[in-house]
Symmetry: C2
Subunit: 107 residues, 2 copies
C-alpha cells in the first residue's frame, strides 16, 4: 500500500480555499482546455481586469496555476501537479474502512 502523505491540513485548507469561489472555478474551467491570457478570461467571465488579476493571484499563490509572460500578455495555465494533489487529498478525506463503532460519548 502507498504510505499516506502527511496530509497537512494547512495546505489542504489553502487549496480548498482557492477553489471555494465560483469565479475562480470558472477560471479553472477555462484553463482546462489550455492556457489563457488575462484578456481572454475577462471576456469569458465578463469581469473586470482588476478582479481577474486578484483571483489569478489567489490561484497562483495556492500553486494551482502558473503564469508565463510573453510580450505584453500574461498566460496562465493549470498546474497538473497541484490538481493531482487535490484529487489525492479528496481521497484521503474519505472515511476509514474500519469504523470504531457508535462509541460511548464523552469517554
Amino acid at each position: 500500500m502507498a504510505t499516506t502523505t502527511p496530509l497537512s491540513l494547512e495546505r489542504a485548507a489553502r487549496l480548498f480555499h482557492a477553489l471555494s469561489d465560483e469565479k475562480r472555478l470558472r477560471i479553472v474551467e477555462q484553463l482546462r482546455s489550455g492556457e489563457r491570457c488575462v484578456c481572454d478570461l475577462t471576456g469569458a467571465l465578463s469581469a473586470g481586469q482588476s478582479l481577474l488579476s486578484f483571483h489569478l493571484k489567489t490561484l497562483k499563490e495556492a500553486g494551482l496555476v502558473t503564469d508565463r509572460r510573453q510580450g505584453r500578455w500574461a498566460y496562465y495555465s493549470l498546474n497538473p501537479q497541484a490538481m493531482a494533489e487535490l484529487e489525492e487529498l479528496a481521497g484521503a478525506l474519505r472515511a476509514d474502512a474500519e469504523q470504531s463503532g457508535p462509541a460511548h460519548c464523552c469517554g
Copy 2:
C-alpha cells in the same frame, strides 16, 4: 469516454468552501474513524462548544456531514456520498487531455 457530469460550479464552490477552514478539516479528520458527538470534538480540537456548532453547521449545510440525535447528545458522521462527490469533482477539474495549444490571445 464518460460524459462529464454537469459540474455545477455553485455546488463545487460550496463543497470547497466547507473544507477551506483548518478547524473544519480537523473535524472531518476526526469523523473519518467514525461518528462523534460534539463534546468529543470540543475535546479533540480544544475549541468552544459554540464554535464547534458553527463549523458543524457549515459542514452539514454543505452536505458533508449528517447528524443523529440520541438523548441529549448529537452524533455527527461523514456523508460518504458527498465525499465521493468531492473526489469526483477534483478529478473533473484536471486539464483536458487534448490541449488547444498556446492559442492566439484575445481572439
